[in-house]
């Protein structure tokens, strides 16, 4: 048997392509394009992923008005928190459910049978998550500015903080989403299995309810997970120094934010590498 791709058979078929195996980058980019296209064509997924944080921002911003200590408005607080929740929705929830569906409907099995490098699947997922997350954040900021007088920070330092919190948060949440996608037994149960912990996390991580209003044991639990730290990082950007006094530690603890999110990145990667299944449970 020949080891070369160019087969010895005389074939009367037109062939396209370079004759070389496509690179991971090219394959990953192709996957990202297809993933994003499919996402926006599936109306339920779009609504499920995008509208939830936006609707909540509109509702909370309308119900709770007024100012907290240091001229921080409640809507500013919610904008920062819901950006954290929005990022996690576009990454953790979207991937957790989406990959469970891919495992169930044959996507993963079919891809595993092609010469596509397996890493291209993940590159595609993460690129499409980045696109969705940027969109989600942009919409939430627009709603905040237009409806609730949110003042966007002007200092470049704030946007730098925003950038690293965003990148670390998206990456950690994406890896966790990939890892958690192995939990649901089927696509049907995936939404329920993945959404439950996400909703709980939102309640205990300072998205809906100020973190300081929680009992101590809930604070301890929430401090273990990434969402609390993501929200804290985003508050430092949008509430500024004036809001620091509202924090439990009277500071945004940005060093700890970076540390915890990085730790989750490493942990999520280890979980992915050790638990990811290319097969559904039916496939044995």
């Amino acid at each position: 048997m020949s080891d070369t791709v160019a087969s010895t058979r005389a074939r009367a078929v037109d062939r396209e392509g370079s004759g070389r195996l496509p690179s991971i980058a090219a394959s990953g980019w192709g996957r990202a394009a297809v993933e994003t296209k499919m996402f926006f064509r599936e109306k339920d997924a779009v609504i499920f992923t995008f509208s939830f944080p936006i609707i909540l921002l509109v509702i909370f911003g309308s119900i709770f008005q007024g100012e907290l200590e240091g001229h921080v408005t409640v809507s500013q607080l919610y904008t920062a928190g819901l950006i954290g929740a929005g990022v996690m929705s576009a990454s953790f929830q979207n991937l957790g459910v989406g990959i469970a569906v891919d495992r169930d409907d044959g996507t993963l099995k079919r891809l595993a049978g092609t010469p596509m490098p397996r890493s291209a699947y993940f590159v595609g997922k993460i690129l499409s998550v980045l696109i969705l997350s940027v969109l989600e954040v942009a919409i939430l900021l627009a709603v905040g500015v237009v409806m609730y007088d949110l003042n966007l920070p002007t200092a470049p330092g704030s946007w730098l903080t925003f950038a690293w919190v965003f990148v670390l948060g998206v990456t950690a949440s994406s890896l966790l989403g990939i890892a958690v996608s192995s939990l649901p037994r089927s696509a049907k149960s995936a939404t329920a299995v993945i959404s439950m912990p996400f909703v709980v996390l939102q309640f205990i991580s300072g998205v809906f309810i100020p973190f300081t209003a929680l009992p101590e044991w809930l604070m301890r639990i929430a401090s273990f997970f990434p969402l609390k730290w993501m929200c804290q990082g985003f508050r430092s950007v949008f509430l500024g120094e004036a809001g620091a006094s509202l924090e439990l530690a009277k500071s945004y603890e940005l060093g700890r934010v970076a540390l915890v999110l990085s730790a989750w990145m490493v942990g999520g990667l280890v979980l992915c590498l050790t638990t990811f299944r290319w097969k559904g449970r039916r496939d044995g």
């Binding site: 496509p22 192709g30 499919m38 599936e42 099995k109 010469p115 596509m116």
Partner: protein
């Protein structure tokens, strides 16, 4: 036959105490259309999935296009096409988008529009997969299986759920691929499908091959007893004989001409198949 596409020796796979595949030997030549028949749970799909590189084996030697599928490389994957049993992926993409997407994964591929035409979906090229019928969806699966211009194509129960006309069209498609020189390994429940398509057939029952050969001669079919049947004294008469010509001559003489409602039949592939799988060894010792 020029060369071997698939070679299997002593293939074994256990699930717990159950031996799903219990010592299978296979030799499939380049360019052959080879059908694997067998009842549900006989070990067909397990065998094929081991050949496709999807499943680990417990014992035995396997070579597919000269490579052990336990360690599939990307290059090897580009030479093997796989049509899975069921899939509902890329429901939101159109036929053309899907085929083009998969074409880009291969070092060199067939022309997507040509492949779409070949599976008879040109008119549906702009339709999303979600809106296709079951048979059309299956043809997309075949298009994706052959887009990389594979030397070897696996088809796992390709026509389950097809109406008779769609099956005939599908058979034409497979014959066309075979004429292009593609080696085809197909599992099926349908004996007429094996008979229509396959150069050779293997019958698997309880993890073992119980018969192998050309469809026309499988299980001694060609030389088996023929049944001669006719109408006499208002009742149906039937005898089984190895010399049906002599019987017919005898009857012709007796009736002095036309024998009423005369039929001479050899056992169908289905008769042979049912005999084979029911007579397979050690059926009572196996845990079920």
């Amino acid at each position: 036959m020029n060369g071997t596409a698939v070679s299997v020796r002593g293939l074994t796979k256990r699930y717990g105490d159950v031996r799903a595949v219990d010592g299978i030997d296979l030799e499939i030549g380049t360019g052959e259309v080879f059908a694997i028949l067998g009842p549900n749970g006989a070990g067909k799909s397990t065998t094929v999935e081991i050949l496709e590189g999807y499943r680990e084996r417990d014992a035995g030697e396997v070579s597919v296009l000269g490579t052990d599928p336990r360690h599939p490389t990307r290059l090897w994957r580009s030479r093997v096409g796989i049509v899975l049993q069921t899939a509902n992926d890329t429901a939101e993409l159109t036929v053309r988008e899907t085929v083009r997407h998969f074409a880009a994964m291969y070092p060199s591929s067939r022309d997507p529009d040509e492949v779409i035409a070949k599976v008879g979906l040109t008119e549906k090229a702009r339709t999303r997969l979600r809106q296709l019928s079951g048979g059309q969806r299956r043809r997309v699966d075949v298009a994706l299986g052959v887009i990389g211009d594979p030397e070897l194509l696996f088809l796992d129960e390709p026509t389950t759920g097809f109406d008779p006309e769609a099956r005939r069209r599908f058979w034409e498609l497979i014959r066309g691929l075979s004429d292009d020189g593609t080696t085809i390994v197909l599992t099926t429940h349908y004996l007429d499908e094996a008979e229509a398509l396959a150069d050779r057939v293997a019958v698997i029952a309880k993890g073992r091959i119980v018969a192998e050969g050309e469809p026309a001669t499988l299980g001694g079919r060609a030389s088996a007893k023929a049944a001669v049947s006719w109408l006499e004294d208002g009742g149906r008469r039937r005898i089984e004989t190895r010399t049906p010509t002599a019987t017919v001559l005898e009857l012709t003489a007796r009736f002095d001409g036309e024998v009423p409602e005369l039929t001479v039949t050899r056992p169908s592939l289905e008769d042979v198949y049912l005999d084979l799988i029911n007579a397979s060894p050690d059926s009572e010792q196996r845990p079920s």
